[in-house]
Symmetry: C2
Subunit: 219 residues, 2 copies
Amino acid sequence: MSTPIPPFPRGQEPSGAPVPLELTVGPAAPQLRADAARNRARLLEAATRLVEEHGVANVTMEAVAAAASVGKGTVFRRFGDRTGLLMALLDHTEQQFQAAFLSGPPPLGPGASPADRLHAFGCRVLREIHDRLDLYLAAEPDASRRFSSAPYRVRFTHVAMLLREAVPGADGVLLAQTLMGYLEPALIHHLTRQCGMPLERLESGWHDLVKRTTCPVSD
Amino acid sequence: MSTPIPPFPRGQEPSGAPVPLELTVGPAAPQLRADAARNRARLLEAATRLVEEHGVANVTMEAVAAAASVGKGTVFRRFGDRTGLLMALLDHTEQQFQAAFLSGPPPLGPGASPADRLHAFGCRVLREIHDRLDLYLAAEPDASRRFSSAPYRVRFTHVAMLLREAVPGADGVLLAQTLMGYLEPALIHHLTRQCGMPLERLESGWHDLVKRTTCPVSD
DNA sequence: CAATGAAGCGGACCGAGGTCCGCTTGCTGG
DNA sequence: CCAGCAAGCGGACCTCGGTCCGCTTCATTG
């Protein structure tokens, strides 16, 4: 039961504010000191290289630290934990994706009908995760944080909003969680790699799911 | 890439047969030697006690071994890993539940309509998981095995069967995975504990989801 | 009942994630 | 330019899950 927030390791954090440090998408980066920013960049570069050389499963935190010529403690200070580091590797893509569905052109962005946006959203996520499946699997936070991570919350909120618009009477939050569940990396892994399904089938499944979800239901 | 099957630690396993060792529901228990069976029982008893005394999060494998007066290696030999041990703690309940929906009285068991059985199934699972949430959370296997565990497969197969019956035209497998996703311990944890939703709302959500899923959809 | 070998046992050992804390360094205000 | 100090650093250290392998014990067979 210790404070789970890594950015302020020694003293108490200044106030009750969470100060998300590793925002992974967010407006105000915490304004790193010059050397810290340099180390952060070196770590991300080293991690990227190691991941593509040895596969994410064989990349240890110590190895990343060594490859970046940095102490192990520095990695944890910067990224909190392994999940944080791996999520940071996905951050750039994530930001582009968020921009696309928040303010990009339709059908993903505003301008199309909510249903159409949902259809586009799922397909985009399916493809994105499918393309970098190992990384997404490894970056998956543990159960208790799965739903609190910044990227998840943004996606979830978006889906919930579209759903409320498309099917006003329903419990948008629960339906949104259900739809989000279909897009879990672990499920995509299971269906494509363990069951051998082609991605197209998952896409059809998504379209079907959206249709069923957005169709009005009696009672 | 070593053999992930723990029951045959030294030599090669006799054939290609998986021989599930920790069946966690299954017909033929592997016929343990007398001392092994005794140790298994002691371990389960010790684990149960430690879990209710200190909470599952604070129970280490070494502590369980010590409490059962057994070597640490024995715990791993018997249960494979921590997840295996925790799943074994849920096994008894799981078997009862399986019996109930496979051959018990309606609406859970055969005799009711597939839709009614689905409704009953979800509510039962929600309540069961809700009642022992911490244990279910801790016993959740890692992503790559979530869908391969015996209990999951049994439940999933059941749901898929009911769905194929209730809505013949659809992709039963994908719909079943979607419904199963709604019953994930991690999601139930998030909604009830982190969002503060009452269980009744989750149940309503399940009913709604089943309705939408089983309603015929055009095109 | 004795021999035999497979199943089981235990605890030393290992690797990796994560923490701690004394030292260093880049910023800032005087 | 200097002093002060918070931010940052690094690597020893800890914990815990998981493995290994030589020894023991149970069951079986003749």
